[in-house]
Symmetry: D2
Amino acid sequence: MSEQTNGPAGPTLGELQQRLTDFAAARDWQPFHTPKNLAAALSVEAGELLEIFQWLTPEQATAVMAEPDRAHRVRDEVADVLAYLLQFCTAVGVDPLTALAAKIERNEVRFPVADRGLTEDGNETG
Amino acid sequence: MSEQTNGPAGPTLGELQQRLTDFAAARDWQPFHTPKNLAAALSVEAGELLEIFQWLTPEQATAVMAEPDRAHRVRDEVADVLAYLLQFCTAVGVDPLTALAAKIERNEVRFPVADRGLTEDGNETG
Amino acid sequence: MSEQTNGPAGPTLGELQQRLTDFAAARDWQPFHTPKNLAAALSVEAGELLEIFQWLTPEQATAVMAEPDRAHRVRDEVADVLAYLLQFCTAVGVDPLTALAAKIERNEVRFPVADRGLTEDGNETG
Amino acid sequence: MSEQTNGPAGPTLGELQQRLTDFAAARDWQPFHTPKNLAAALSVEAGELLEIFQWLTPEQATAVMAEPDRAHRVRDEVADVLAYLLQFCTAVGVDPLTALAAKIERNEVRFPVADRGLTEDGNETG
């Protein structure tokens, strides 16, 4: 049973981005929320998400959500990564959805469907 | 002039998440898109975003979008981070918006507005 | 055939740390080499090392040095990580060998040999 | 007062690398110590070092060792980064000192002393 479909009553990305801005403003945290600090914090949180998986076998990693404590940590770190990404986007004035849509379009040109599989050096993207 | 407001015609997060799933499926990339690999890729891309800022002064970092090449790199890395975060969420069955909304609610309890400023050790979150 | 044993003619860690200091000084890079910037750069380079492995299967990862281009990238990123770690240590006045020896001693107490295997949550260290 | 000079009685890098190998072997941790896992762990620990600095001003970051708790965390994370780097090097058969010496030599050619300052895009290295 997946949580993938966010029902019509759920918040949008833009609404959560605004809530994060209000949250930081109410606590006078804006001086700390420079683009450089937020990029560092985003990287730190992505590391904390990776930490959950670092010693797991592929099988254990695939079943990560079956273990309630780990599942909670995964959701918590996903939230932290997204929170800092949105706050970073606010700080630099970038719309994340527009940036991602543009990137997908570039990648559709760069990786035509005929070229199946990865490049020789094992990377999808440069 | 900011790109913050994503107009009504823009894609939603859920639509982009689905496009990424279709994109990977069309290229047979799903075997590589394990939770562990995607968490690693997310961390790598967050590092690439941080790389743009690593030697910049706070002033240069704040003006990062005024320089077209850097601005393009910033948008590109934001897109990569968001893409891997969404693909990770698909792989583990977590809804990122629900996870973030829940985290904001926990943080509203954890950091009441009266407690202005950061904790003594300089961290907002644990 | 391994490179593990660094012969008597090889440089010591302390000698390389001094060469890095001289290298940066000769190029007027010290103003950029703040503890915060160097910690960010170290994290970025660790991400670049991880990037080499992110899509590899365990088998491919184990054989990473058999492919000359990848082997060169691995050596290059190992060097970058160590370089920034040493420059960070210089900036904050920490001796990395003393710090590591102390940590190993703490870990010998923390993980007695009788307790074989990892802790339940898959982490060796906290 | 710095800890920079590691006296003649201190352990060498090679000795600590061997102690780490013995430590892991005595606890049956080798199956977890694949190159890919160790590269992930190295990146995670580098993120933990960066976390100490993420919200600090440049002035606070420079004075990080004046605060005993933070100073302990810095030494601890330096040790973790170095430990995983050495274990990674053992796993792939790379000598870290040889790799760094070779990189410094390449950089001496790449960044002649006449070219003072950073490149236009703010990066020292590619």
